[in-house]
Amino acid sequence: MKNNIECSRARQLLAGDYMDEALDRESRGQVDLHLAQCSACRQDAERLAAVARALRQARKMNAPPEVWTRIKAKVSREHARHSGFRTRPAGNILHIFMMRPAFAAAAAAVLIVAAAALLMQAPGPSGNGPGTVSGATAAADLNALTGNIELLDQHSGFGSRIELLLM
């Protein structure tokens, strides 16, 4: 076993694996031997051990009772909120539009575009292909669509009427 390690090497090992008892037997023996011969390193070793002891003996704290009170209140609120959402009828989608006007406006715009595309592609009564729409069918479809949009608009809280312009 090589016994005469330098102070710098001894101190490097002391602050590392030596303190954690993770050194192999040979290295530990070298450090122990150095400590027996070097009072400065021995003093450092004693101080490091005292630091570790102070940290281990530090007071164990407990969270104050109001922390649990706040956690419990928050968890209960979340639980109630989620329960409320789950018990809402699945088919009742209007509440989404009522809560989010921007979403309602976007949905209305999508409906308009989709309806317009359908009307443009629907075959006419003479079978002339896309682009010709019977006046009666178009009027009925548009009336139904306008009714839906008005309903959405009322629930969105915008308070305005969406105008449909026929080209």
Binding site: A58, R59, K60, A63, V67, E78, H79
Partner: protein, 181 residues
């Protein structure tokens, strides 16, 4: 990890059993609070971190997959929340005084030897940066192994070693200068 939270308790809490969740809090809030307090060095921050950790835990319980122990998970959330709070607040220079102030308030109800030790611990930890302090708290105060610390802090094993090494050197220099402990 030693004395981990039983799976059955976690499953019950994940299913909405509030009494089971309260039992988990009773068993684990101490470790969360201590880690948070020692790293963030403020009771107010430790209160908020503990609250944040357990609310996160309550949300995650139904999806908990037991890939790591529950305590490891709690240590991870607490330590990382405390480190990020330290970084965000950017008030390192004033914290040592704040910590000592808290210790002095606590000390009024405790025996003298314990007070002196608390003061020593506070000043020693204030000599470290956030990452070093987290490693020291988990190793020296919570008694965790290098591997557990690496898993909790998401860092390589050798980084745990080097941070502990540098932390001890810093504490030794501070202790020598201040004649501590």
């Amino acid at each position: 990890m030693e004395n981990d939270i039983p799976r059955e308790l976690i499953a019950r809490a994940g299913g909405g059993d509030m009494a089971a969740f309260e039992e988990i809090y009773r068993r684990a809030s101490g470790l969360v609070y201590n880690v948070a307090f020692r790293i963030a060095r403020s009771h107010a921050d430790a209160d908020e971190i503990t609250q944040e950790v357990f609310i996160k835990m309550h949300e995650a319980l139904p999806r908990f997959e037991f890939r790591s122990s529950c305590k490891t998970w709690l240590y991870r959330i607490a330590a990382n929340a405390a480190i990020s709070r330290c970084r965000k607040s950017a008030r390192e220079s004033s914290l040592a005084g704040k910590y000592r102030e808290h210790i002095e308030v606590d000390a009024q109800q405790s025996p003298a030897a314990e007070d002196i030790n608390e003061k020593t611990v506070g000043t020693l930890l204030s000599a470290l940066d956030d990452e070093q302090r987290a490693c020291v708290v988990l190793r020296e105060m919570e008694g965790l192994a290098y591997e557990e610390i690496a898993e909790i802090l998401h860092i390589p094993l050798n980084t745990v070693r080097s941070r502990l090494h540098r932390a001890r050197e810093a504490m030794l220099a501070y202790a020598n200068k201040e004649k501590l402990p």
